[in-house]
């Protein structure tokens, strides 16, 4: 749910533009702020860029190496720019169901669920994760949109419901097939870390120098791999990051590989692959709206979403596999023969598949897997085929699986 390459419609830059503009979010006017691990990243060779208003590491040793390491071992990401919110108070459950198209009646304690913040016309304002805690709900929202999200939620939630911005918490993600093996020896909890299944979370503690450090750990992430997202007090972030990074399975991974990993996993990036101009059905995100909510409605934009579900959307978010080695990026026009039928919303070279891949919105008539299309990249017509997503299979630790 996070990072971004560029938001501009042009996708060719000067060599001079590379460090500054590549990950800049034009929505955020002020200079980059420091996150809790700023000095920690710099000391470990992280190349810092401005992202979502924060200085964040885009890479350490190199994007492809970090990408491949995450797919084969375990990568440690700092995602402390994301917004962590705690929503509680009288009637919180009904209030959240009125604000989001989520079904909380089936969400168990510690359960994590994907949902969307929609405007009155069904346009997507953000995507987010919702977890049931004992007395309320823990939300993780995108960094670039968190201030708008908080303002929006304040407006639509009743006064009895309180929003706490957990801005004294850092958030780490440990992702990859060896993430569990690396993290398990470092934490203690009422249940074993291994017993957490995909989209479940629980409280754990790390053994800190000055005593236990509380952590909320969920088995989730944004890479398509097994892995964990780890919320810890900001003041302990460096100490905990040190412990995790010292594990032999673990290397540091920046925003660059986070973007290429999530693209391969077919996971959309807010602000690019979905915006307020997209409703959930065309974005391919209606899976987050279950039968009960479809039948009952009662969430912002319900009318338009239900209409799109019944009639089918005019366009769809699809995956494209591209021939050759030239990448197609955001803004490139998708053609059927010579006729424009869509636009690329994110794209790049896939380190796992060793070929360019992209996400695009195209007219629904041309969205079926196997459809041959072209992409106009700087006047060159690249051959592309619609393919199902994910591009690289997910390897989540699902309940009941080995």
């Amino acid at each position: 749910m996070v990072p971004s390459l560029r938001a501009e419609s042009t996708f060719v830059s000067d060599l001079n533009d590379i460090p500054a503009n590549d990950f800049e979010d034009p929505e955020v006017p002020s200079g980059p702020l420091e996150l809790p691990l700023d000095a920690w990243h710099r000391a470990r060779g992280g190349r810092m860029v401005d992202f979502a208003g924060y200085a964040m590491p885009v890479q350490y040793e190199g994007i492809i190496a970090e990408h491949v390491w995450t797919r084969t071992s375990a990568g440690l990401f700092d995602v402390s720019h994301m917004g962590q919110l705690y929503i509680s108070g009288e009637g919180v459950e009904a209030a959240l169901e009125a604000a989001l198209p989520i079904d909380l009646s089936t969400l168990p304690l510690g359960g994590v669920r994907y949902s969307l913040l929609l405007d009155e016309t069904g346009g997507i304002l953000d995507d987010l994760m919702v977890t049931r805690w004992g007395t309320g709900f823990y939300l993780v929202v995108n960094g670039a949109t968190k201030w708008d999200d908080i303002a929006h939620l304040r407006e639509i939630l009743p006064d009895a419901v309180t929003i706490n911005h957990l801005d004294d918490s850092a958030l780490l993600a440990l992702q990859g097939p060896k993430a569990a093996e690396a993290l398990a020896p470092l934490v203690r909890g009422e249940q074993a870390l291994e017993d957490l299944s995909f989209m479940r979370g629980a409280a754990f503690t790390f053994a800190g120098k000055l005593g236990d450090v509380d952590a909320w750990i969920s088995r989730s992430g944004y890479t398509g791999e097994d892995g964990f997202e780890i919320s810890i007090p900001a003041g302990k972030a460096a100490e905990i990051a040190d412990q995790i990074a010292a594990q032999p399975q673990v290397r540091l991974v920046g925003l660059g590989a986070r973007d290429s990993l999530r693209l391969e996993a077919g996971l959309p990036l807010y602000g690019h692959d979905m915006t307020a101009d997209n409703e959930p059905v065309e974005a391919g995100l209606a899976f987050g709206i279950n039968k009960r909510r479809r039948a009952e409605g009662g969430f912002p934009g319900a009318e338009r979403v239900i209409e799109a579900l019944m009639e089918g959307p005019a366009r769809r978010r699809i995956g494209l596999s591209i021939e050759g080695r030239m990448a197609a990026r955001e803004g490139a026009v998708v053609l059927l023969g010579d006729n424009p039928v869509g636009t690329v919303t994110s794209g790049g070279f896939s380190p796992s598949l060793e070929r360019p891949i992209a996400m695009a919105y195209v007219e629904s008539a041309h969205a079926a897997p196997g459809t041959s299309l072209f992409i106009d990249v700087r006047g060159r017509k690249l051959s592309a085929t619609v393919v199902p997503m994910p591009f690289v299979p997910h390897r989540y630790h699902r309940k009941g699986a080995a």
């Binding site: 390459l5 080695r325 990026r329």
Partner: protein, 123 residues
């Protein structure tokens, strides 16, 4: 053979009225992993400052400009299969194209190695 540099991080090595062009070590380090290089066709006529080549990295696509005017004689065919040569040897085997110069006087606008190093140190 004298080598000159541009503020856009291209280098050009001149021998008589012929030259070899590439991007600098600094540029490749900033771009990161290079996955594709679009090269100019032999025979293409280029003006100083024209975009002649595009270097695709995992992060972004970046234009490479002609440091001087002239005519392209060949692109570096080795980059078709090994674009990563630009990462491993940007100022050597990872050269991008060769060209003839139409106005050697344009070289006077470029930096020598010392001036370029000082320029990069300021970035």
């Amino acid at each position: 053979m004298p080598r000159y540099f541009t503020k856009d991080h291209e280098w050009i090595e001149v021998e008589g009225d012929a030259a070899t062009v590439g991007i600098t070590e600094y540029a490749q380090s900033q771009l990161g992993d290079i996955t594709f290089v679009e090269l100019p066709a032999a025979g293409a006529s280029v003006g100083k400052g024209d975009s002649c080549s595009v270097v695709d990295s995992v992060k972004a696509a970046s234009d490479v400009y002609a440091p001087v005017s002239g005519s392209v004689t060949e692109g570096n065919a080795a980059l078709e299969d090994q674009p990563e040569l630009v990462n491993s040897d940007a100022e050597g085997a990872g050269w991008l194209w060769r060209m003839t110069l139409s106005d050697a006087g344009e070289l006077a606008d470029l930096m020598d190695e010392g001036a370029y190093k000082a320029y990069v140190a300021e970035l």
